[in-house]
């Protein structure tokens, strides 16, 4: 085997591990924090579903350059693609490990984009970067948390109004809880079509996947709640209903995350593999199944080895997040991500979730949010691309000299 390919495979696995450690743990945080699942269950759910998402639903074809951030026609030397991919992977992994160490929820997509832009600029100057795409990425830093916040604010207001604001909250909870859960499944069904099956037509996704799934879930939940409303206290009852729903929504987040983000780790591996096996890569390269499995396995291992500790801390430390709030955050974030995917915006799930938490806080739904930590989060978002870019540029330069 080509030694460069072997190195890339190892790095791809390391990057997948870092995604599992940082990102996957973040996507399960609301469910663990709201005590819908235990940290142990979260690890099993995340491990299994991240792998399933990556292996069965990960794209079988990937771009050589993630998100078209560089102009691939300017890279004529196959070695540049090899060294660049290694530099980008290593830089993104290093940054993700640093962020995980400090517990900052950064975007894996943005890390890899930074890494790719870094080596591109060193190789061919700033003109190789597709600045239009880069602007979109920067815009998404600002837009995803804001849209996530607005969405969560509105959802929280609507959810509480529909259930708790009536003369008879228990009666309303029987009808409205299934409605909200059904609506979540409209989003989940549509997301499944777009993110997991990689469908392109939003209307078809909503009509053939979203609405049937939502309607079916509405009927099932309605019947179940009719049979046995957990308890006559609407708050405890509604919370216990949403606790069960959060198990499903968090599992879904893990599946979509695996299907979507595995490309960040294995895209560069596939590019190097294409060069190693065919001599040169075009705009898009096929991804062999074993590389997908490698990515999925890496994420699962990352969750099990490091993500577990993260989730244990979350489970112990977050005592104030209730299930209706957790559901609101998950549901809002998933909906925003769906629309962004459809619009082709490189939006970050992690950023949207943080925005959604703040949105519920603004709606007076969370008793206390630490605003000092928000500053750290936002700073870490803004430095992700430049830092990953800088590390990647240095590594690429070294590789070009010794390679």
């Amino acid at each position: 085997m080509d030694p460069w390919l072997l190195i890339t495979i190892l790095l791809g696995f390391a990057m997948a591990w870092a995604i599992g450690a940082n990102d996957a743990a973040n996507s399960m945080s609301t469910a663990v924090g709201a005590k819908a699942i235990t940290p142990k269950q979260a690890v099993v759910i995340a491990g299994v579903l991240e792998f399933t998402g990556a292996y069965f639903f990960g794209k079988s074809v990937t771009e050589t350059i993630r998100k078209g951030i560089l102009d691939p026609s300017r890279i004529t030397d196959p070695n540049v693609l090899i060294y660049g991919s290694i530099a980008a992977l290593l830089a993104a992994t290093i940054w993700l490990i640093i962020a995980t160490k400090f517990g900052l929820p950064v975007s894996t997509t943005h890390s890899i984009i930074g890494g790719i832009a870094g080596y591109g600029i060193v190789y061919a100057g700033t003109s190789i970067v597709n600045w239009g795409k880069m602007t979109q990425v920067v815009l998404s830093w600002i837009l995803s948390p804001i849209v996530g916040a607005i969405m969560a604010y509105l959802v929280f207001k609507a959810l509480t109004r529909s259930i708790f604001m009536s003369k008879n909250p228990v009666k309303n909870a029987r009808v409205w809880s299934p409605f909200w859960i059904g609506l979540a499944f409209v989003v989940i069904g549509t997301m499944f079509y777009i993110k997991v099956l990689h469908g392109k037509d939003l209307k078809a996704g909503v009509l053939f996947y979203g609405i049937p799934a939502g309607f079916l879930v509405f009927l099932i939940t309605y019947a179940l709640i009719r049979l046995r409303f957990p308890i006559n206290d609407p708050y405890i009852g509604v919370e216990s209903i949403f606790r069960r729903v959060q198990v499903i929504t968090s599992g879904y987040v893990a599946l979509a995350h695996g299907a979507n983000d595995v490309a960040n780790a294995i895209g560069p591996v596939a590019a190097v593999y294409a060069v190693a096996s065919m001599g040169m890569a075009g705009m898009k390269v096929p991804v062999p199944r074993w590389i997908l499995a490698l990515g999925g396995l890496g994420i699962a291992v990352g969750v099990a080895t490091y993500g577990y500790r993260v989730m244990e801390t979350v489970g112990k430390k977050i005592t104030e997040l209730t299930n209706t709030r957790g559901f609101t955050i998950d549901f809002s974030a998933a909906t925003v991500v769906l629309f962004a995917s459809w619009l082709g915006m490189p939006i970050s799930t992690t950023h949207t979730v943080v925005g959604a938490v703040v949105g519920v806080g603004l709606a007076r739904g969370i008793k206390a949010i630490n605003t000092s930590i928000l500053k750290d989060i936002v700073i870490s978002w803004f430095v992700t691309v430049p830092v990953a870019g800088l590390i990647s540029a240095v590594i690429f330069k070294v590789l070009m000299l010794v390679g």
Binding site: G103, T160, T322, V358, A368, N370
Partner: protein, 224 residues
Amino acid sequence: MQVWTKLFAKSPFKPLIKHAEVVIQTVETLEKALQAWHDGNAEEMERLAIEVDRLEDVADRIKEEIRDSLSSKLMMAVSREDVLIYLHMQDKVADSAEDTAKWLLVKSPCEIPTEIKDVILQMGTESIKAAKLVYEAIVQMDRVIESGFAENEIAREYELIRAIEDVESKIDGLDTKLMKLVFENADKLDWGTGFCILNIARTISNISDKAKDAAERIRLMMNK
């Protein structure tokens, strides 16, 4: 350290409820001390009055902990200032009970007309109602937030606030009645005893005054 665990700060409401529980205990112990004072059981009265003092210290410690945890960097469902002022008022309820206990301790019991003692005991019993209502009000405030400020929950909170105001005005009435009784019985009391009785009454009525102030803060919490 995970960012998620730092993002969600601890809600001040559970500790506030805990503090309210200690306040109730303090006022309940004071009422028992007043009962012993009423029955002329000096030894028991002294033991209970000292216990009131101890419980007030416990309430103070919880208050300090809550204050320390409420950093200005928190985004809360209610304003931090309202929570702090509410806490101050709730703590004042226990402080007033302690003040009454002090007045019970400073002067050795002597002959006091029964009708005066009865009114004081009645004031003590009503004060427990005020403290319990404050506890209920802060528990209900937690529920108001849980419901996303639902109108029916807010309405229930207003009922509790009104109930606190009613208790306060009832104790005011008893206080006035007591003052009159003291002056009507002036010939049977030496000036020191009269002075002590009036101060016991003043400090007891402070309990419900502060309970009313706390309730007023809850009203402000809901309005924002």
